[in-house]
């Protein structure tokens, strides 16, 4: 049954031409998107390598200077990428890829390419993820809406059933044809993953497998819903209109609405406002009081009356105290912001129960490491590096500053004591709990659509009663 249905659909499709054209255009779009994604990923990867290397050289070759001057000189660290980012650049353009690590302040990421774009360019961006998440479902609908509805309209459905075709086998054969066709569109993606898996020094097997699996399930969901509605509606035209309405809601309107609801429920100020808040909370009279208290405690501890009598350079100690004081405030404010953003993310993911688009979008960005959680991991690691950097520099000032005649300077030997920032994302299993809702949503949709399919098959059994 499956083989003969495949053959029949293939012959029908080939002679109709329209579907072949549509499929050809879709494959072309996807290939184009994959090639541009790959190119942009390659240039990003190259930039990451170049910036990392040149930054390290810049840091090491900054010359002789005071450790605190070096702390302000700072370094830039670049967010690493995964091969999957070529297919789904997610929030990369909005989150920034570069962080400046310097004394006293925890900076926000820089270089958000979306800020450089004109507003309309957002609609023109053709990433493989956009093709997979938005355009492929549309194509599945355009190819699949007449599968059973047109059979009903032209009377062949009744004749097939009367000939002894099993409604369940007929339904699943049609769905299998549609799903197989949609899997063909995933072929360029699968080939890219295979290439990246073999070419990459650190293969992301679990991420690649989950990425592909999420999309396979997503396309299966669209194949199921298209076949189901094609089976339930009396005419192909009505099936098409209903499917297009569902597509518009599922891929365009509901995600936007869900995002608006999530940001309204868990409001988040702008990055600039947050940065201003950080500074205003750190640089207060309370900080001056704390520094004064620290000074008095230190003097008392060493039984001296002035800092010049201390057996170390007090400036270095105070700088480190100031850093630690600010770090506590940073931790508190960033924790609050993180909780707010996490709440936003969870609320948005929850809307995955309304549309599988949100679930697959979340899982796609997650596996590609281009989502908020991965950005957060990178920023946290960078912040730990910044603190380590400040500690090494401040302690060096504290321990050696007082020995110098005049202004104390350090050189390459000190700069080398700070390890190069080399960040690798943790294993994907580390992140899985963040995406539990999306995984459940996909499973939920699969169950719902299988049940709907069974209902459609039951209706097919009593075809003439409609």
């Amino acid at each position: 049954m499956l083989q003969s249905t495949f053959k029949k659909e293939w012959l029908d499709t080939k002679r109709q031409g329209q579907t072949l054209w549509l499929s050809g255009i879709a494959v072309l779009l996807l290939l184009l998107a994959c090639v541009t994604g790959f190119k942009s990923h390659q240039s990003y990867q190259q930039a990451v390598n170049e910036v990392s290397q040149s930054e390290q050289l810049r840091w090491l070759n900054q010359g002789e200077k005071g450790p605190h001057s070096a702390a302000h000189y700072g370094i830039y660290v670049v967010k690493p990428t995964t091969p999957l980012a070529a297919l789904d650049d997610g929030l990369q353009a909005y989150q920034g890829n570069v962080l400046r690590l310097e004394a006293h302040i925890r900076n926000d990421s820089l270089f958000r390419s979306a800020q450089d774009n004109v507003p309309l360019s957002r609609f023109g961006s053709l990433s493989p993820a956009f093709v997979l998440q938005v355009l492929l479902p549309l194509l599945i609908i355009l190819i699949g809406y007449p599968l059973l509805a047109r059979e009903r309209e032209q009377g062949t459905l009744k004749q097939l059933l009367a000939a002894g075709a099993s409604p369940a086998k007929l339904f699943f054969a049609k769905c299998a044809v549609l799903f197989t066709l949609s899997c063909l569109f995933l072929l360029p993606v699968a080939l890219f993953l295979l290439y990246s898996q073999t070419a990459s020094e650190a293969p992301y097997t679990l991420r690649n497998a989950l990425f592909l699996l999420s999309y396979l399930i997503y396309l299966l969901l669209w194949a199921l819903i298209t076949t189901t509605l094609s089976s339930l509606f009396p005419t192909a035209r009505r099936a098409l209109i209903t499917l297009l309405t569902i597509w518009a809601f599922a891929t365009l309107l509901l995600p936007k609405l869900a995002m608006n609801i999530a940001t309204t429920l868990h409001p988040q100020g702008s990055g600039q406002a947050f940065q201003a808040k950080l500074e205003s909370e750190v640089y207060t009279d309370a900080r001056l009081d704390a520094i004064e208290k620290f000074k008095q405690q230190t003097l008392a501890q060493y039984g001296v009356s002035q800092v010049a009598d201390l057996p170390f350079d007090y400036a270095g100690a105070q700088l480190q105290f100031g850093e630690q004081y600010a770090d506590k405030i940073f931790d508190r404010l960033f924790k609050a912001r993180l909780e707010q953003l996490e709440a936003q993310s969870q609320s948005y993911q929850l809307a995955g129960l309304l549309t599988p688009f949100i679930a697959v979008q979340t899982l796609s960005m997650a596996t590609a490491a281009t989502d908020f959680s991965h950005q957060q991991s990178f920023e946290n690691a960078a912040e730990q590096h910044r603190r380590l950097m400040q500690e090494v520099l401040n302690f060096n000032q504290r321990d050696h500053g007082h020995k110098a005649q005049g202004h104390y300077t350090a050189g390459k030997e000190l700069w080398q004591q700070i390890p190069e920032f080399s960040y690798q994302y943790p294993r994907f299993t580390h992140y899985l709990p963040h995406y539990a809702i999306s995984l459940i949503s996909l499973a939920f949709w699969l169950i719902v659509l299988v049940l709907l399919s069974l209902f459609a098959i039951k209706k097919l059994r009593l075809e003439e009663q409609r």
Binding site: M1, S4, T5, K7, K8, L11, D12, R15, Q16, Q154, G155, T156, K158, Q159, L160, L161, A162, A163, G164, A165, S166, L170, R461, L462, E463, E464, Q465
Partner: protein, 239 residues
């Protein structure tokens, strides 16, 4: 008389307020052609849909070669072939491809040569076999429909207005084909308005009106009576 292939006992079906079938009983035996006559709304199509398992009767019983379609529609349909007034085929597929597909979904495995032989048996012109069905006349489509029934080796054939819209020559050819099928032992139930074809081809004629069997005429009687006057008498009484 042999055991009936199609057996209908006291069949009843209601659609809301409308009683479509009121205790209809019929039997079609092996090798027999039964013409089912009746005006529009008499219950012919409802009866066919019950036989095909598309409608569940409210009461009564049907068996197709001993199988009740209400209980086992898949097996019952394996014994049946159905040719509607407009044989629905895939217009972009050729006659051969249509025959092959309809046969294969019914789990009938034959080679292309065997399918070609079947199409030749039903006298489909050889030049048409590999042409898209969109180019076929109604008579040619009917022939593909019969070839589907032949491929299936069905024990019963149900025809719904098979000669409607056929020219006399195509109608005659069709008549010969179903006669030949009957000779091979197929039980044929032919719902029709074509009194001439019924009188020429049928071994028995059953007249139904308002969901009830109102008369049955045997082959011998058909030679002696004017079917049209008998039919009109029953229909007027019914009205």
């Amino acid at each position: 008389m042999t055991t009936p292939i199609i057996q209908i006992n006291n069949l009843q079906k209601r659609f809301g307020e409308y009683q479509a079938l009121q205790g209809l009983s019929l039997a079609v035996h092996q090798g027999e052609i039964l013409a089912l006559l009746g005006p529009n709304g008499a219950g012919k199509t409802t009866t066919i849909n019950c036989l095909l398992g598309f409608l569940q009767p409210d009461a009564g019983e049907i068996t197709i070669a001993g199988v009740n379609p209400q209980l086992d529609v898949v097996t019952a349909r394996q014994h049946l072939a159905y040719i509607p007034e407009q044989v629905a085929l895939y217009p972009r597929l050729t006659g051969l491809e249509n025959l092959a597909y309809f046969s294969k979904v019914a789990s009938i495995d034959k080679t292309d040569d065997e399918f070609r032989t079947l199409l030749a048996e039903v006298k489909l012109p050889s030049h048409a076999v590999d042409k898209p069905v969109a180019t076929y006349s109604k008579g040619m489509r009917q022939k593909v429909g019969i070839a589907i029934a032949l491929a299936k080796q069905a024990k019963a054939l149900i025809l719904d207005e098979p000669t409607s819209g056929l020219d006399p020559s195509a109608s005659h050819e069709f008549s010969q084909l179903i006669q030949s099928l009957a000779k091979q032992g197929v039980a044929i139930l032919m719902a029709t308005h074509d009194l001439y074809r019924a009188q020429e081809d049928a071994h028995r004629v059953a007249i139904i009106n308002q969901g009830q069997l109102v008369d049955t005429l045997l082959f011998e009687q058909l030679k002696e009576v004017q079917l049209e006057s008998v039919y009109l008498k029953h229909i007027k009484v019914g009205a």
